[in-house]
């Protein structure tokens, strides 16, 4: 019994989220629709409480729980804190949007919290089984959230595509895991790594397993050639859900990639480096070039995501601590940028109107100089224009790849980033140099405007002073991977 108690204390943030998700579900039955704002408050409170418990139970060493299936290391703690922050911002951005579209229901908040629980389990997963369970929990919540606006045919179609392809990806991941389990005889990431060190890593069964694991991960990230679902789902889902799918789950995907590739299959690094190289180069090329042809803002940002994933893989490709730390920095920057980008779409949308086409941004500077400026920073950051955060993030991953000797790939990535700058700058051109199409006033709650401003300011400030964030990422990776 005693060991159960210490396990439960280690998993206190997870338990908080689980308990509150179920509590919200029950409370929703007894609350009047006009008082539903209480549920929103409770969801925010849950995030705060979970963050509090994460900080309180923080310790700079690596701890295990639940028979080594759950790990509590600095990497997990820091990624969880970032996830809480991102989710909290997402809830602020989406509140009015959901209210206006009749989706402001208790289940929305319960599902978001269950998805959050899935992400936390993935981040702390130390066994193939826990990682898989966390992934399924997250995916299941996301599938149903995409279809949340259930009378919308496009959202339903997107949910169906996401579900079928996601199930296929889960199947591939599981198949790869079963091969690796078959060869190493263990589900535990650390034990897999030590078993691999003692055997012939040229074993084709291991490579087969690795191929399937990498394919499954690439599917979840949306890297080429497993990117088909990304544009359709991003465009079809309600913008608030797109914001959720595009942002925080990437932290969890990053975490399981670290756990699986960097911790478990590090002895096979020579093999997965090549796979990641191909995917990274293709993702950057296809993402950036296809984005140019888009007229829908959500779809454009989806292709932009694909290219960002390519850059992220550049950090992984170097397969050393420096590379992983720069990848972690990149993913943090990416999530901040995505929150700001889709936050802007939500800001410009209003009752019965979705600001999802590029034309809707025309002349934004005349309608609201402040909103235009925020979008300007976001676009500059996504394009990687100095001194924004996006520039520094791209710089660190490419530097890590350069040190690992991928010179030609880096040169190619820089060229592609320059091409990609075109469609980000086109948005800026539309906002500042074109005449506005509609002159509706932008009406967003004060808290949303405030948080969005802070979000965009962070893109600028962290770009000028990236040292603290870089240091946090470095420390987390070094302590957790050694």
């Amino acid at each position: 019994m005693e060991y159960i108690k210490t396990d439960l204390i280690t998993a206190l943030p997870e338990l908080t989220v689980l308990f509150m998700a179920m509590f919200i579900l029950l409370l929703d039955l007894f609350i009047k629709p006009k008082n539903r704002i209480v549920i929103y408050g409770l969801a925010q409170f849950t995030l705060l409480a979970a963050a509090y418990f994460t900080v309180v139970t923080y310790n700079p060493s690596v701890g295990y729980a639940f028979s080594n299936m759950f790990v509590d290391d600095p990497l997990a703690d820091i990624l969880k804190l970032m996830t809480f922050l991102g989710t909290s911002m997402m809830l602020v951005y989406t509140r009015q949007y959901m209210q206006q579209r009749g989706m402001f229901r208790g289940e929305y908040y319960a599902m978001v919290l269950f998805a959050l629980l899935g992400m936390m389990i993935m981040i702390s997963g130390q066994s193939l089984l826990t990682i898989y369970m966390g992934l399924e929990l997250l995916s299941l919540c996301l599938y149903s959230l995409v279809a949340f606006d259930r009378d919308n045919a496009r959202a339903t179609e997107a949910a169906m595509k996401y579900f079928v392809l996601g199930a296929l990806a889960s199947g591939m991941l599981l198949y790869g895991m079963s091969m690796i389990y078959g060869m190493t005889g263990s589900l535990n990431v650390a034990e897999i790594s030590s078993a691999l060190l003692e055997m012939n890593t040229k074993n084709p069964v291991l490579i087969l397993g690795l191929v399937f694991v990498v394919a499954g991960l690439a599917f979840k990230f949306g890297a080429v050639p497993f990117q088909m679902w990304v544009p359709d789902v991003y465009q079809g889902a309600p913008t608030s859900i797109t914001l959720l799918i595009g942002s925080v789950p990437k932290f969890a995907a990053f975490a399981i990639t670290i756990r699986l590739l960097a911790q478990g299959l590090q002895p096979l690094a020579v093999d997965w480096q090549d796979m990641l190289l191909i995917m990274a180069v293709l993702s950057i090329a296809i993402g950036n070039i296809t984005a140019i042809a888009q007229t829908n803002l959500k779809r454009m940002l989806a292709y932009s995501t694909i290219s960002h994933v390519g850059f992220l893989l550049f950090g992984f490709m170097s397969a050393n601590l420096n590379g992983f730390a720069s990848s972690m920095f990149y993913i943090s920057a990416y999530v901040l940028m995505t929150l700001a980008g889709f936050g802007m779409i939500l800001l410009l949308s209003r009752q019965g109107f979705e600001a999802e086409n590029l034309d809707d941004l025309k002349g934004l500077n005349q309608r609201s100089p402040w909103a235009a400026f925020l979008m300007l920073i976001t676009m500059f950051s996504m394009a990687g224009v100095p001194p924004t955060l996006g520039f520094y993030a791209k710089f660190t991953v490419l530097q890590a790849a350069l040190q690992a000797g991928f010179i030609w790939a880096v040169v190619f990535a820089v060229v592609m980033a320059a091409i990609g700058a075109f469609y980000y700058l086109r948005v800026v051109k539309l906002m500042y140099f074109d005449a506005p199409k509609d002159n509706a006033r932008i009406s967003a709650p004060v808290d949303m405007q405030l948080v969005l401003s802070i979000n965009a300011a962070a893109l600028l400030l962290l770009g000028i002073m990236p040292q603290t964030l870089m240091q946090i990422c470095g420390v987390a990776i070094v302590i957790s991977l050694q």
């Binding site: 289940e107 069964v205 087969l208």
Partner: protein, 211 residues
């Protein structure tokens, strides 16, 4: 041992046949029934491996519950098969080549060398793998076990969120609301001008007199 081998190969052959029929048969009901057969033979193979609990669970849960439900759904749905099969021949060359390549690769890797048969010492007669499974499930694998329950909970919530609607034609009554009703809610007073019936100008009697 030879008898065991014989049973294994028989069951495996039936399993493969059933598996292939699931995806090739035209009628979805037959496909579902073949899946039942596949589960049944798989359970038989597990019995050979002395995994009695899993074998019985497979029959009870999948054959007994899941597949019966599945059959009902398949029978209820009106699926237009010809529409589903549209484009089959267009995709066949590409999909067939890739499928064949993957099958060849997997046969090369998975057969023989790396998965050499080993003999596992059989357990004594009083060994219960049900008890053993239960022990592991509630101690070492407690976390994934609980997570599985959360996943199922989410599946229930998702199904309800996506399908439950208040019926538009529902005639259910809410007594609390009925008691609270006020006069203004039900009675509407409409102001309108008085209408006086004017007799028609021509008198029908006069008509008769004329004729």
């Amino acid at each position: 041992m030879i008898f065991n081998d014989f049973i294994f190969y028989t069951l495996a052959a039936i399993l493969l046949f059933a598996g292939i029929r699931v995806i090739t048969t035209r009628n979805p009901v037959y496909a579902a029934l073949h899946l039942v057969l596949a589960f049944f033979t798989a359970a038989g193979i597990w019995l050979l491996l002395e995994a009695e609990f899993l074998a019985i669970a497979l029959v009870l849960v999948y054959v007994g519950a899941v597949m019966v439900l599945f059959l009902f759904v398949v029978m209820m749905l009106d699926i237009n098969l010809d529409k589903l099969r549209e484009g089959f021949w267009d995709y066949l060359p590409m999909a067939g080549t890739i499928g064949l390549l993957m099958a060849v690769e997997m046969v090369m890797i998975l057969s023989g060398k790396y998965f050499a048969p080993t003999t596992v010492a059989s357990k004594s007669a009083d060994y219960s793998n049900t008890a053993e499974l239960g022990r592991v499930l509630y101690t070492d694998y407690l976390l994934p076990f609980e997570l599985a329950s959360v996943v199922l909970l989410v599946a229930i919530i998702a199904a309800i969120v996506l399908t439950l609607r208040d019926r538009q034609d529902s005639k259910s009554m809410n007594p609390a609301e009925q008691v609270l009703v006020k006069k203004q809610d039900r009675l509407r007073i409409v102001k309108m001008d008085a209408v006086v019936e004017t007799p028609s100008v021509e008198d029908p009697k006069a008509d008769k007199e004329k004729s």
